[in-house]
Symmetry: C2
Subunit: 250 residues, 2 copies
């Protein structure tokens, strides 16, 4: 993914102006690359600056007792990682790359700048945070109520939806750099059980999943199983501050 595209995704929901995007890029640090499996932030350590993910996959997880962990979010290009740490002195999660990744550091001070000088950008940041909250709410519902097969179906649908945003031509077969262990840590079961559930979905003719490659065979069936609550993605941003630079109305 080209860097501009990632930045555009980051700000798409508020319709920020091109000039504002440039300012945002001006606040970011240089591009840095890491190999797969790199731990970028460790839970409990003193917080650093948030990171803007530009290429590759990463994930945030919270360590539990005895080596277990819960993955709380998959990061895709365009995502800001480590944002919640702004409110704490120690990292609230562990951030690790799942593939080779490219990131830019977003210095803490740049967020102060945003709030002081670029209110629309700050508001965009706020909206992104609210969306994350809703995503977590949704996952919380599934975790508490649904059985593993449905949680897996919902996970697949949600990941594909997010991938679609940056690649509208994404087919029904695509790469997912997640092992069954990762999936287990995401949907809250054992890696053992994930194997059973995947085979269950396969035998129902819904998906095919192997070697990091996932194929959705029956999307309506998968959606039906996932039974995600309807969520209106259209955003009402009429309350946002007026654009800073542009002459045209938003």
């Amino acid at each position: 993914m080209h860097e501009d595209e990632a930045i555009v995704r980051f700000t798409s929901l508020t319709g920020l102006k091109r000039e504002e995007l440039r300012e945002l890029q001006g606040l970011a640090g240089p591009l840095v690359r890491y190999p797969a499996g790199t731990v970028l932030k460790e839970f409990g350590e003193v917080t650093g600056d948030p990171l803007l993910l530009l290429e590759g996959w990463a994930c945030s997880s919270v360590p539990m007792e005895e080596g277990a962990r819960q993955i709380v979010k998959i990061h895709l290009p365009g995502d800001l990682m480590g944002l919640p740490n702004l409110a704490y002195t120690r990292n609230v999660d562990t951030i690790m790359s799942l593939t080779e990744i490219a990131v830019r550091i977003m210095p803490r001070s740049s967020f102060g700048t945003m709030f002081e000088r670029y209110p629309r950008m700050a508001a965009a940041l706020f909206l992104i945070s609210l969306e994350e909250r809703v995503t977590l709410m949704e996952r919380l519902c599934f975790m508490g109520r649904a059985e593993a097969a449905r949680r897996l179906a919902a996970l697949i649908v949600q990941i594909r939806d997010r991938l679609l945003k940056s690649d509208p031509d994404l087919g029904l077969t695509f790469r997912i750099p997640l092992t069954q262990s990762h999936v287990a840590d995401m949907i809250g079961t054992s890696a053992n059980h994930v194997s059973r559930v995947i085979q269950d979905l396969s035998s129902r003719g819904l998906i095919k999943w192997g070697r990091g490659k996932l194929t959705v065979l029956d999307m309506p069936g998968l959606l039906d199983l996932a039974a995600l609550p309807p969520r209106d993605v259209a955003h009402d941003t009429a309350w946002l501050p007026r654009p800073f630079f542009s002459s045209e109305a938003n």
Copy 2:
């Protein structure tokens, strides 16, 4: 709770100045009271304005299939309710009062004003949102990994911690306006099972719970069972914009 106290709680984490608090109050609408059991927002309906809760308890829940629901948050005095709706056109959860409550409407436009004219207040709002996110992350972990007894223990500890913030003298016995059905919808089990789990905790001598009154008999034991991850509550707000009015340093 006196209104000022609630407002102070709302903004405590960023050390907002007294003048800013007054501005915040100026943005809010008049005080409105509702009896227990009032539905203030209904999931899926067109969004209205967020509400600042000043007295009483309320909860946000997401309806699931067949009348089931997941309670995603308990609102206590000082909480802003319905904030995530700012990013959507339809309510992402149902907000219902658990006791008699008093609220003030925070018009959508007032958030635009905050971002334009009171960057520190906007940043405070942002931080609150990040905290909510972390709370949800934590609950997600428990929902996926812990058995019901531990989830209940964690719930009790967390609620008491939040009550302590507004009443530092809170003893080990306090009122909780939650039925076992509510608890079930919070920790993701059946109301039936909640009864069993409460009796389990009781027989272990950890708590006593009846008639809306909860007594913690063995706090260390309860904390041990809950096994909440250590979370540094101190906030690093050095990146925040400078105070708007005051002359003193923050």
